[in-house]
Symmetry: C2
Subunit: 546 residues, 2 copies
């Protein structure tokens, strides 16, 4: 069977646009004599549609669009992800996350999702019921076993600890499927594609069935979908893989021999950089921003964000602004100018000092003679935020925030100051990873000036300040953070590993205390298995760690 | 049976503090010769514990505390809500939201929650599995039928549309329970107590069983728990009700006759005001803020927020600041001063104009000769935000934001400007409701100057500006918003009711477009069935309404 995988990029809620993509892909495949065309999970409405699903008018519009798409089909099969509804069902939502198989002008078969994920960034139980049953559908001499995303992530042969009691794919195998098709919208995290491939390889080998895993591509606010759709033969060998981080259309012939693909995943640096670039590009494209703005401090974080923005939108569409104060080092300005010249971008330079001075003067009496403290540092950062937002408002720039994961974790950032912006581009990579990626970018040519990479990190909000005045060294900090945030370990366990309970306690306390800041932070592009933002639900007011 | 209901206020995660409250309540009841002492749902860890539940060290600490509490029990029974774990369970989380019944030094019986809510502000499926079964437990000659919160919200006799197929309370009835006990943590929304009473009355009357519904009290960031625990006899009559919006300890004797309680709910104005006051009080208490700060504009929103803060923390603990610009009317200053004097609070006055002028001067060249627009208005608002945050940082004030629901909905607020602050006190009440409550406050004495209530609402960010330059009249706007936000209606349906499709489309578009602002907004005290914040999950980047 010849199957076309349409690894396309939907816009959430844009039914007409997404339906157009389905029809275009289908027509192309028909011309090419394909048997079956496959689009990813919930492609018609975009994933995740979230509370849009709760609107009856939205669901009705989805249904109408699905029927209109089905109406144009001929004898070539078409599978796409959509929302379906059981109007008879008087208990629960009666709403399903489904795959619709269409041909000859109609939706001929619907298979709904059985395993409804509800952890981390997944919230599907709010909206969708579990499929009542699983069936195989005969089409053109094959028995299609269709499943949706999570359905295939519960294989008893692969997982030591399973989330669900049911295994819908096993039901398809028991139902004598000859081809497995999984339509998916699986958010990117580094390492996941390899894990997915390993899992699917075990599954196809065990079940002796070929598998087409069709995943969407594109960023939806903080979630990035990396494409990389996979086609495995019945021996668990990877025959074909879709492009990563871009749209793709490719044909898989289940009767053809393919050379084995060995590398499913590039290096951390390459992958994560591509993910962030796609994240910025799609945020801008899907919200109609043409140009991005970054506040350039002379530090490595804003340098990396600027680089990502340039790769996403082109150097002609990135503007940076230097906002020196009396604490800014000369080096910072020179380094920034070198970066600007290396990237070929436009820039401005506006001192914050006059505004800082007047603001401090106006506030003096209200401060009641209290000593200088973090307040004065925050004022500088907030006036930078004020400038950046003014430029964004006036010129229509998309403002990118520059905080990294270590900083967001520990609250080493000023709310309404350097945290201003629409998108936290590098908010899911630790400071040590920022360095890794900067060095990777510089492998061939020095794009990010070495001085930026080599100097001690500093917020430059008071004389001779460095990050390490307030934080442990970044390599230690990041180790602690990773265990705490991504591995769900706690104080005792981490202290045993690190061997210094005081520093662990201090870091964990900082992370917890700063939840209120993160509540008001920009969406973070997610590139790890546990990012700040939607997938983390930590109480703001709490007393766990006194 | 004599039952003590301990309607107390836990702190999320503060196991030692919460355990202390359980032990204190239990000891008091023992002295008073009570048979059974009941604490609310998840009282030991506080509700909702959210991602804390995912930490093994946290769950272990909960278990240890629960065992220590059980160890002090004698022959008086004690029921409290806690987390339990099935370590043998190799599928799913194996973690349960449970009621522990203790006596004679041990946990004697555990009933876990069957119906795991996962809509609006509820996210429990992420953490908890459904109870495997439901049992009645004999104690002191009665057969206790224990259920947990949502378990009792699926009565087939009461609901036309049910969420779940199972009815655990029916199982208790079938198991010949003689007393029903429901431990609960049901977040406040106006109207819910009445609905709950109606539902429980039908249930007890039908099942011919008395019911003790024990609910917690207190605010947990945005969620407010209103207490008002209910004891109904086997004819559906309300015998006793706990205090509302404060802690309570009371005894219910299932064999005693009580006069019927008729009013379970006060007026909208009285209830919602109490809820907001508790919200501010608990946020401050549980985060160790002593004093609150409000930016006083002369408008009704900041006047109401100031009043709430005064009632929550005392007039000696509320500071306000006037921050006039050249667009501020003389009236606004006079009105503010009258309010300050009526409330007896301290105040400051810092003009923003000098900082605005310098900032605009510094930005002039970068604006490339573009005309004045919203940018200049935002700058004023952001400098006010800068002042407020500086005062908050320097003096340790809890900054309350002053946006109402109509404003937050339509984005009629400046991100990083008037949206600065830790808590959105009136963020779940519409502008028309702000007026209702202001008039209610003034019923006896004019506390909020009438001028503030009577003048046309204005942001005073440009000459002669009023809110109605950009927004439809508030009574119309609020009708549209309520249908859209709280009743999940969409454009067609609302337009049919309102009779003006253009204005409906415009409002809905504004709401959708401003999701990015709300992503970065302060937590909103929830007093309706659908508030902005945690319970709303709307995509930021989307194309549903073009």
């Amino acid at each position: 069977m010849k199957i076309a995988v349409c690894q396309y990029n939907p816009v959430i809620g844009d039914l007409i646009g997404n339906a157009g993509k389905i029809i275009t892909g289908y027509k192309r495949a028909v011309k090419e004599g394909i048997d079956l065309v496959v689009f990813p999970e919930l492609f018609l409405c975009g994933y995740p549609p979230l509370d849009l699903v709760e609107k009856k008018e939205f669901r009705d519009a989805v249904r109408l669009n699905a029927e209109e798409i089905a109406a144009i089909t001929g004898n070539t099969g078409l599978i796409f992800g959509t929302i379906t509804e059981d109007y008879q069902d008087k208990i629960g939502t009666g709403v399903y996350n489904s795959a619709a198989l269409c041909y000859n002008g109609k939706i001929q078969f619907i298979q709904s999702k059985t395993l409804i994920p509800n952890y981390d960034v997944f919230d599907e139980v709010r909206y969708f019921e579990s499929a009542k049953d699983v069936f195989v559908h005969e089409f053109r001499g094959e028995r299609l076993g269709i499943s949706i995303c999570e359905d295939i992530w519960n294989d008893a042969d692969y997982w030591k600890h399973r989330r669900y009691t049911v295994d819908p794919v096993q039901k398809l195998v028991d139902g004598k499927a000859t081809i497995l098709i999984n339509i998916s919208a699986s958010p990117y995290a580094y390492g996941k594609r390899k894990q997915r491939y390993n899992m699917l390889s075990v599954l196809t080998k065990t079940d002796k069935l070929p598998l087409i895993y069709a995943c969407c591509v594109g960023a939806q606010t903080e979630l990035i979908f990396d494409g990389g759709s996979l086609c495995l033969n019945s021996s668990g060998k990877l025959d074909l893989m879709g492009k990563t981080f871009e749209e793709d259309y490719f044909i898989y012939d289940t009767h053809k021999e393919y050379p084995e693909i060995e590398n499913v995943e590039a290096s951390f640096e390459e992958e994560v950089l591509s993910a962030m670039i796609l994240g910025v590009k799609d945020y801008a494209n899907k919200t109609n921003f043409k140009k991005a703005l970054v506040g350039l401090s002379g530090g490595i974080d804003s340098a990396l964000v600027t680089y990502v923005a340039v790769k996403a939108l082109g150097n002609e569409n990135v503007h940076v602004v230097l906002m020196p104060s009396k604490y800014s080092s000369e080096g910072s300005v020179i380094d920034s100018l070198n970066l600007i010249s290396n990237l070929g971008i436009s820039s401005g330079n506006i001192s914050i000092q006059p505004v800082v001075d007047v603001a401090l003067g106006m506030l003096k009496d209200s401060f009641n003679g209290k000593n200088e403290d973090i307040t004065e540092e925050n004022i500088q950062s907030r006036i930078r935020g004020l400038y950046l937002m003014a430029l964004s408002n006036k010129m229509g720039y998309l403002l990118c925030t520059t905080g990294n994961k270590s900083e967001i974790a520990t609250g080493y950032a000023t709310l309404y100051g350097d945290m201003c912006g629409a998108l936290a581009v590098i908010g899911d990579i630790y400071k040590t990873q920022v360095y890794l990626i900067a060095n990777y970018i510089n492998k061939k040519n020095e794009i990010i000036p070495n001085e930026i990479i080599e100097k001690a990190p500093s917020a430059e909000l008071r004389p001779n300040q460095t990050d390490q005045d307030s934080l442990p060294p970044y390599d230690l900090l990041d180790r602690i953070l990773k265990m705490y945030l991504e591995e769900q370990r706690e104080c005792d366990e981490i202290s045993n590993i690190i061997g210094n309970r005081d520093v662990v306690k201090k870091v964990l306390r900082l992370v917890d205390l700063n939840e209120f800041k993160r509540k008001q932070a920009a969406p973070v592009l997610r590139v790890s298995t546990k990012a700040f933002g939607y997938g983390r639900r930590f109480p703001i007011v709490q007393g766990w760690r006194k």
